[in-house]
Symmetry: C2
Subunit: 307 residues, 2 copies
């Protein structure tokens, strides 16, 4: 039974998990900023948009100030998993820890800090955080989750059921890799190009009429990603090119987080998204000139913040 | 004999030509803005830096207001050649017209507007325009020029001698293509990467220690360029990789104009630089995935100005 949950990192995604889980469990939140924890303890967490939720939250910056949860969802950005897992090291041995980061490798980072039961997740939902205590639920697409290491599938199913009971969309999959890789290739292609061009994920990303059209580059990136997946023995769940085309037809163009990051001159998730894909390409001996180029370009853009 | 010269476009490069040529010829200038012509007529043109020049200039926005020159130097940006040549159509049949744009194709654009004797140039000098009547001469590197179509080499030599007599560095070459292509490959590689990353042309462009280092991308771009040049039958005058490494060691990092363009949200010269290289690759059946990707990325960045 999962009676108490703890979300680590209350950005848009983390806030959506914490608020919805508060409907079906004691919902704890670990924040980085003390004033964020104070605000959540005082005012709770409000969701508007796809769902309306007013959640009671127990928040802290130090896990020592919280009771042991049954489920921990690490909802930081990919760059925040290492410090987050570090603060959990040596604590909450009975908890199941679930990761939902973009890219690959979050589970391994958590594992290096403890031998918790691990669940691997990937989420397609999106939200906009309006304040520390208010998040707007924008896209109510699913979280997919699967077992990591020896975690029994029943545990994964239990977590998916809990998320659904809380009002979110979730599906337990015996093998998450096909979904994780589909999203990895999609994100590596779309996010890096958005970051470089300044374009939100709009119709340019699917345009292939003229030689100069960006859709050719996106197709090249997706095709490279598919060759890497094939070499890694992963059969993709969704075709990342179809995901790309579909998303550009959604009406209002999405601002990929990597574009927001470079505009705000923040470190991006490039190393765990495109970087992960490039490392897999190397491991399996597949050429990946386009993803490698975008990896180097985004890294250089980060270097330019201080140049 | 060249007694009268006309520079079209008085940016930094055009101003340097016009002011130095005023020492050895009647120096005319065609500007786009009337107040620019007025200022030049009233105050002349001042050069500081590598040389000190105070030049008398006759300027206008309409070539009909100027006497016929013996030599026209089209010193607009690559994107300005088409309108500049358009205003000259049907005029000054005895003049020699010289282009000094980055990339390839400026000569063909001029040719479409008239059958002037043409000279093809490429310049490595640089300056900073402080006002409409004051330019600082920064790098006193050479202008190389060569014949186009049937233009006799003697005419090219005469122009080079005139530039040298005016105080600039210039060299007449029987075949300009090796120099033009060296600069083309250098510019296509450095400018597009600078525009995408926001980095001036600094030591990152030559760094190859780590996998993520930008030097690998630059080397890939240069190697692609060399393969295209080889297929086009052009033997390069200088190795663009050596040009790249050398330039990054110059102390103060240069801000490529394409980086300035995207920061100011202006149209870039991408179509006549990287675009020209990609078209040559296609013409000669050479794969150019990296230059093609950067072409599409910079074009998409331009599209983002209005998105």
């Amino acid at each position: 039974m999962i009676r108490r949950t703890c979300v680590v990192g209350a950005g848009a995604i983390g806030s959506l998990y914490a608020a919805h889980l508060a409907r079906v469990a004691d919902s704890l939140v670990l924040t980085r900023r003390p004033e964020h924890a104070d605000a959540l303890n005082a005012d709770g967490l409000r969701v508007t948009g796809r769902n309306e939720v007013a959640a009671r939250i127990t928040a802290a910056v130090d896990p020592g100030d919280l009771p042991e949860p049954d489920l921990v969802i690490v909802a930081t950005k990919a760059t925040g998993v290492e410090p987050a897992a570090g603060t959990l090291a040596g604590r909450w041995p009975e908890a199941t820890v679930m990761t939902v980061q973009n890219g690959l490798g979050a589970e391994q980072i958590v594992r290096r800090h403890g031998d918790w039961q691990l669940v691997s997740g990937v989420t397609f939902m999106s939200g906009t955080k309006h304040s520390d205590t208010h998040v707007e639920y924008i896209l109510d697409t699913a979280t997919w989750l699967g077992p990591w290491d020896e975690t029994p599938f029943e545990r994964v199913q239990e977590i998916a059921d809990l998320l659904v009971a809380g009002g979110l969309n979730a599906e337990a999959l015996p093998d998450l890799l096909p979904a994780q890789w589909s999203k990895l290739i999609f994100n590596a292609s779309v996010n890096a190009v958005a970051a470089m061009t300044g374009l939100p994920h709009d119709e340019h990303f699917a345009a292939e009429d003229e030689d100069a059209d960006l859709g050719h580059l996106l197709r090249g990136l997706v095709d490279e990603g598919k060759r890497i997946a094939a070499a890694a023995g992963v059969e993709l769940r969704d075709d990342p090119w179809e995901m790309n085309v579909l998303a550009t037809k959604r009406g209002s163009a999405h601002f990929p987080s990597m574009l927001e990051d470079v505009q705000a001159r923040r470190p991006t998730e490039i190393d765990l998204i495109t970087g992960a894909l490039v490392r897999e390409a190397e491991r399996f001996g597949v050429e990946a000139p386009l993803h490698t180029a975008l990896y180097q370009l985004v890294r250089a853009r980060e270097a330019a913040y201080s140049a």
